[in-house]
Symmetry: C2
Subunit: 363 residues, 2 copies
């Protein structure tokens, strides 16, 4: 087992990474102090793992809210369901919410924990690769609004994160690949050595090699933890973690939530950000080719579906938390491992990327 510590002063917390952590009953029991525990999970994950969690917490007052599976349920309505369950069970302010599932469950349960009685404790058990390397680290919680993704939420740090590699054995291949998108992202932002390591080990990760998985998850969590520790509330450098996400959120919005997985949209968004960076003469063609190649090897998209209208995509991208004064802010790349925030790019290049005129070449 590896422990990555997220350093945030009084809100610091550990991320436990290892195989079989849920089956180890003492682990969970020792990490949760509360008498009242509400497990938030979904119809896919609960049948697989909720039994292990309930066994580990035997003797406490444990209840659960099981939501339907999917990004389309990351709504204020699901949030209200969790709050209602807490009130119906007379949960008090000393309770703990436990998120058992992927990013959607973590974001929803986290926002409920942030808001119930103005804030209660929160533990994350991410069961997808994407949640283990990204959404469960850093305290961002949110629900979607019909007009924009993650527009309602808060910063609320968990008391700990338990990433059990064993849960990845039941993860559909498509979701595993989606998780790789966020892992690749950390290499691109500021860790060129990790990018090289990924170029060497991508197939091992797809085959669920335990040592490689543990290394990739640890490295990703450590990279994210470093950035979050510097800028908890995203007033500066943390925005770099949104590499690929402005294009990606726009794509998810235009395609309709749930058609592409978040990681797929981010992968495509990173290709588009690399494409724009290359068109602007910032990044070498060679680096661009490496980016597109690694994303393709992971089985992830590098261009939007052909039926996506560029103007609709541009409009969808205008609703983004990084934007200021109506200008779309993007994370671009000077090279692999050197990302920066930019709102000063030529509109022509930007629109050419949206029009995907290079799509035929790189696909």
């Amino acid at each position: 087992m590896t422990i990555v510590q997220v350093e945030l002063g009084p809100r610091s917390y550990p991320i436990f990474i290892g195989s079989g952590l849920l089956a180890d009953r003492s682990m969970l029991a020792s990490q949760i102090e509360s008498r009242q525990i509400m497990i938030v999970s979904n119809t896919t994950v609960a049948p697989l793992y909720i039994g292990l969690v309930e066994e580990a917490l035997e003797g406490r007052s444990v209840h659960s809210v099981i939501l339907p599976d999917g990004e389309e349920f990351k709504t204020l309505e699901s949030f209200e369901k969790i709050i209602s369950a807490l009130l119906e069970q007379h949960f008090d302010r000393s309770c703990t919410l436990l998120a058992l599932g992927g990013g959607v469950i973590g974001d929803l349960a986290g926002y409920a924990a942030a808001s119930y009685q103005r804030g209660v404790k929160f533990v994350q058990i991410p069961t997808t690769l994407l949640a283990q390397v990204d959404s469960s680290v850093g305290g961002k919680t949110a629900v979607n609004h019909p007009l924009g993704k993650n527009m309602i939420g808060s910063f609320h740090q968990p008391t700990c994160v338990i990433a059990d590699l064993a849960t990845l054995n039941t993860l559909p291949q498509r979701e595993l690949r989606a998780g790789l998108a966020e892992i690749i992202k950390y290499g691109l932002i500021d860790d060129p050595e990790f990018f090289v390591w990924l170029e060497k080990h991508l197939e091992d990760l797809l085959l669920l090699d335990k040592d490689c998985l543990e290394h990739a998850i640890r490295q990703s969590c450590q990279n994210k933890a470093n950035i979050v520790a510097t800028d908890e509330l995203e007033s500066g450098i943390r925005a770099l973690l949104n590499l690929g996400h402005t294009f990606g959120h726009g794509l998810e919005n235009v395609l309709g939530y749930g058609r592409w997985l978040h990681g797929e949209a981010v992968a495509c968004g990173m290709s588009m950000a690399a494409d724009l960076s290359t068109r602007m003469g910032l990044m070498h063609e060679g680096d661009y080719a490496r980016v597109v190649s690694l994303i393709s090897r992971a089985g992830l998209p590098i261009a939007p579906p052909e039926n996506v209208d560029p103007m609709s995509l541009e409009n969808a991208m205008k609703i983004d938390k990084k934007n200021r004064g109506g200008r779309i802010r993007l994370v671009l790349l000077r090279s692999i491992g050197d990302a920066f925030l930019c709102d000063d790019y030529p509109t022509t290049d930007f629109r050419n990327v949206l029009r995907n005129s290079k799509g035929a070449v790189t696909n």
Copy 2:
């Protein structure tokens, strides 16, 4: 004009107290930096004061959400309306929400500001006495849930509070009296001299004497600011500010939100807390008589309506954020100006207070 500074490190902010502050256009303009400003108000207050605010902010991108007036609209649905308005107007993270109204508007707009894009700036212009002395100070935001008051919310400090005494000229007499409940509360908690001052000046306050009002509001805000500065997130001493509120929230719940004003319920709750403290031999009969007398002089209730069922009231009080392990925690009084948190009181005394067997005597 008086300024009370709330000391919360990087989240410190000023409360401006004075008459005619809204009519002074430079005041508001200098306090708000944002280009995009969303005014949240209600159908009662907006016609009276929104024009002044809009004039002061001329040249900015100012929009508004006008909600129906009343506690029954302090819901997740109203919250969602504010979020939708922000998204429809493409408001970005540098915007400011401005609450123009009483406690309901402040709590709602505050929770929307805390949650929109995970947190944006927030300015309070409280237009009721109660909001000026209580709800606009300290950063508590919330909406109600059918199963409990203020159960969904967060701590989110404003960037400033502008309390214009001139707005009290249009305040209905009943709401003015409700505001006095919270003012009396500060005397009871830890300021016996202020309680004596109130005994002398209560009628001046009811007649809207400007100097007396400014003194009472300043003293109240200063008392609350001192407590909040010591315990921003209510892990200890801040709970004392809930004197009268556990009984009061229970009453509001049992009577149905909106039948009694919040201040009326708190006034009754403070009488009941004083009653219980006296029955337990903690507080002298003489002090109890002074409490009940001052509350009565303010035209506020000192006992629940006769048709309130004691068991229903007790059950409603079980849903309270201060409670731990199923026990109702109360703020009780050793004397005027000496409140403390207590969950170790005789159930018989507690139930006698709920049964209001003293009601006939003190009424």
